[in-house]
């Protein structure tokens, strides 16, 4: 993330914070709002929130790290959530997670260096009848199998190459 992006984010958060009362009870909704708009909680965001509510930064961190929802690193363009609920576990959810990890060369909770993909393990997305399940970019993929993992990632890669080629083409024609 470059300075310009961070600056824009800070500005946006500052404006949004005006909407919230300076009440400790608003802390979780504020963090949720920031994550929804910026996909993760940057250290600067945490400081801004602490300043707004008049509580120490460590308090905000304490709350934010307690809950599974909050992320502290920017996710990839394609965010992959692998469900490890009971039904998915019984049907081999960990094998699916492992396949994603191996295929992308990152562990759960990490983002690929090119910021294309990130993996997250989630407790249950509530689609147990379709186990094992992965959620890729908000689309629930039921009945996952290692071969399906390959197919999904290959699909994204082909799409990216196609986009790149088109970009180059349009750049060349201009």
């Amino acid at each position: 993330m470059d300075d310009k992006e961070v600056k824009a984010m800070r500005e946006d958060i500052r404006i949004q914070l005006e909407e919230f009362e300076k009440d400790r009870g608003r802390l979780v909704p504020i963090l949720q709002m920031i994550q929804q708009r910026h996909a993760y909680l940057d250290p600067c965001a945490i400081k801004l929130v602490a300043g707004h509510l008049g509580i120490p930064t460590c308090e905000v961190y304490g709350v934010a790290t307690f809950y599974n929802q909050f992320r502290f690193h920017p996710p990839g363009k394609h965010h992959i959530k692998v469900c490890l609920g009971t039904a998915c576990h019984v049907r081999g959810g960990d094998i699916i997670l492992e396949n994603f990890e191996r295929k992308l060369g990152i562990c759960d909770g990490e983002t690929t260096p090119d910021r294309e993909f990130s993996i997250e393990r989630v407790a249950c997305v509530g689609c147990c009848a379709l186990a094992p399940v992965a959620v890729v970019d908000e689309t629930v993929q039921g009945h996952m199998a290692p071969s399906k993992v390959e197919g999904l990632i290959l699909g994204f890669q082909i799409q990216k190459e196609k986009d790149d080629r088109e970009k180059q083409k349009s750049a060349a024609s201009q």
Binding site: D23, R24, G25, R26, L27, V28, P29, L31, Q32, G62, V63, F66, Y67, N68, Q69, F70, L84, G85, T86, A87, H89, V90, R91, G92, I95, E98, N99, R102, K103, V122, A123, C124, V125, G126, C127, C128, A129, L130, A131, V133, V140, G142, A145, P146, S147, V149, E150
Partner: protein, 644 residues
């Protein structure tokens, strides 16, 4: 409390109800076929959006004037996407179709809507009794259920309050608003309703208790923080019929004289959050919620709070802390939240299903409710039955039915002719019950006695391929991560339990491990404050009690009888059966561990194999050459020929 003028109340509501009935009638009497698609999360995950789009396109293309209506989840997750087509001109009753893909949707429009052929091979059943098609009510999955909470789920559009009202919704609220709050509490107490969140505390008693304390600023909270991995009843109810929960909550608030309500929903359930928020807005618009509800003089403001995903926040004191903007850590009770809860005010926390049961109880009476289920636990139980079971999904059955009826009759038993091994009830706090306990009646006391617990309604059925040690390890892994860290025994004890279990599943079990597990489990139970720690060792204790031989096989023989623990299994290819020249398994292997031997058969490189089992799926059934063995030393060694 001043009782409202009943005449005004009636008039107000009659207008709304007339409008609802008018809308229902105009829909029913409209020309053309009516297509109803289930669109809750599970339906969407199975492709209901694509199916809906296919219907829209083909109807437009064929110039058929049809009506597409989206409803919630009917609970039959195995059959999603579910479509019900009502085509009166064809002479058939409304028909229930299962697994409707976009292709099937196009076919149905052409064959059924245009040519009047309902295509029998895709029909699950008719929605009403008739002479042409067997009714769905002939199937055990339908007729053994007793729907009180789920009654309207999957039949009404959750985004339209009028649909709920047309089906008799909010009428109980009107009746309740004319009653004395104490009488409502008394009625709920008489019904014997016990909280459906898991602990089974009598709801009426909780309410009465709350009424005895300080009277100002009471709060009612609907607990929809469904953290149990493998359970999704609350989500489905909120997505498919949010108004029934809302109605129960308004009645509850009136009975408690609370003016503030909070629905605590997991943020991981975006559709449920959307549906509930919309339901609240619609109810406010019609004056059913907000200031001076239906001119009764009673005010109630309900807001949605999104839970950020912490299992422990299902515990009421932790939930309250979380709303206050703190880490969701439970605190000692007493004082109970009903005395001193949210920001120090008396707070009643009720589960989604508990609140959704309130309107039926008040409309049909406590005696009616007592007539369902058992004496100690009247009413029904809503389970999400998942795992190795044929008709997975949401099931609502009367309390007291046995596990056997539920799993084998209602849900169709175990698929693929495998044997039943265990059923896990109550999620991470519950336990695994073996086949001997299949005749246990389902109610709070019987299940607790057997070592499991009712829980909020998650039920995972496991066949013979499930390893009990691995399942215990899985749950411990979950509770260990979710432990809030307040109590030492829960924080460190679960970590140690997990370490031992991990060792055992890796084949590094030692003498005395099992005794250590027992000792530690008892200590964690004693040394923890809240339900999470008190019940965290349950999966270990029950599986040790009922499946001790499996643990011993792991520890002593370093063998996993079910073949689930990957460190203790190996895959190999039976050279007798392997076909020369077939490459199916090679292509399926994600790590290129399968190689071709000199005589063009296949071998597995054990050092590369990750034991995902894909080769076993890929191997054509006529060869069936891939074998799984435990312990791994049983796999014959096949050498990889030197390259070139």
């Amino acid at each position: 409390m001043r009782l409202p003028n009943s005449k005004n109340l009636n008039q107000d509501f009659n207008h709304i109800r007339d409008e609802a009935k008018r809308r229902q009638l105009s829909y029913r009497e409209a020309d053309g076929p009516r297509i109803q698609i289930g669109m809750a999360t599970c339906g969407i995950a199975s492709g209901a959006l694509e199916t809906k789009q296919a219907f829209e396109e083909i109807l437009a293309e064929r110039k058929i004037k049809g009506h597409i209506r989206t409803v919630g989840c009917i609970g039959h997750c195995y059959a999603e996407p579910v479509v019900i087509i009502d085509h009166p001109e064809s002479g058939f009753p409304p028909i229930f179709y299962h697994n409707v893909t976009p292709g099937k949707a196009r076919m149905l429009v052409k064959a059924f809507l245009e040519d009047g052929d309902p295509i029998f091979e895709h029909v699950l059943g008719a929605m009403s009794e008739n002479d042409l098609i067997p009714s769905v009510m002939d199937f055990p999955r339908f007729n053994q259920e007793k729907r009180i909470v789920l009654e309207k789920c999957g039949h009404i559009d959750p985004e339209d309050i009028y649909e709920y009202i047309a089906e008799g919704g909010y009428e109980t609220l009107v009746t309740a608003l004319r009653m004395e709050p104490d009488d409502i509490v008394e009625e709920v107490r008489n019904s014997g309703l016990r909280g459906r969140g898991g602990a089974g505390f009598p709801t009426g008693r909780k309410w009465k208790f709350a009424r005895t304390g300080e009277s100002s600023n009471r709060v009612i909270i609907c607990n929809a923080d469904e953290g149990d991995p493998g359970a999704y009843m609350d989500r489905t109810i909120l997505e498919s019929n949010p108004h029934q929960v809302l109605e129960g909550m308004i009645i509850g608030a009136y009975a408690l004289e609370a003016n503030k309500g909070i629905i605590y929903v997991r943020a991981e359930y975006p559709l449920a959050v959307k549906m509930v928020s919309r339901a609240i807005a619609q109810a406010e618009e019609l004056g059913i919620l907000g200031r001076n509800i239906l001119h009764s003089g009673f005010d109630l403001d309900i807001e949605v709070f999104q839970g950020s995903g912490a299992f422990v926040c299902g515990e009421e004191t932790a939930l309250i802390r979380s709303i206050e903007g703190c880490r969701g850590m439970p605190h000692f009770r007493p004082p109970y939240p009903v005395q001193k809860g949210l920001r120090g005010h008396p707070t009643v926390v009720n589960n989604v299903k508990t609140l959704a049961t309130i309107p039926p109880i008040l409309s049909q009476g406590a005696a009616w409710f007592r007539g369902i289920g058992t004496a100690s636990t009247p009413g029904t139980a809503v389970f999400s039955v998942v795992g190795d079971v044929v008709h997975a999904g949401l099931v609502e059955i009367p309390m007291g039915a046995t596990l056997r009826t539920l799993i084998f009759d209602t849900c169709g038993g175990i698929p693929n002719k495998r044997k039943f091994k265990a059923v896990q009830i109550g999620g991470p706090s519950g336990g695994c019950l073996p086949a001997e306990f299949l005749d246990t009646p389902i109610d709070f006391d019987s299940l607790t006695e057997a070592g499991a617990m009712m829980g909020s309604g998650g039920m995972v059925v496991m066949d013979e391929n499930a390893c009990m040690v691995d399942v215990s390890r899985y749950f411990l892994d979950f509770t260990q991560k979710e432990s809030c860290g307040k109590c030492t025994f829960c924080r460190i004890g679960t970590f140690q339990l997990l370490r031992i279990l991990e060792r055992i599943t890796k084949g590094e079990g030692r003498d005395g491990d099992l005794e250590q597990l027992m000792l530690l489990s008892e200590d964690i139970k004693k040394g923890s404050l809240c339900g999470l720690g008190k019940t965290a060792p349950n999966p270990v204790l029950t599986s040790l009690r009922y499946f001790r031989d499996e643990y011993e096989a792991h520890v002593i023989e370093k063998r996993c009888p079910a073949g689930m623990c990957r460190a203790l299994t190996a895959f190999y290819i039976d050279l007798e059966k392997c076909a020369r020249g077939c490459d199916a398994c090679v292509g399926s292997c994600p790590v290129e561990a399968i190689f071709t031997t000199r005589d063009r058969k296949k071998g597995v490189d054990q050092s590369l194999c990750v034991k995902c089992g894909e080769c076993m799926v890929a191997c054509p059934p006529e060869y069936d050459a891939v074998r799984k063995v435990s312990p791994p030393t049983l796999a014959p060694l096949v050498e990889r020929p030197n390259e070139g």
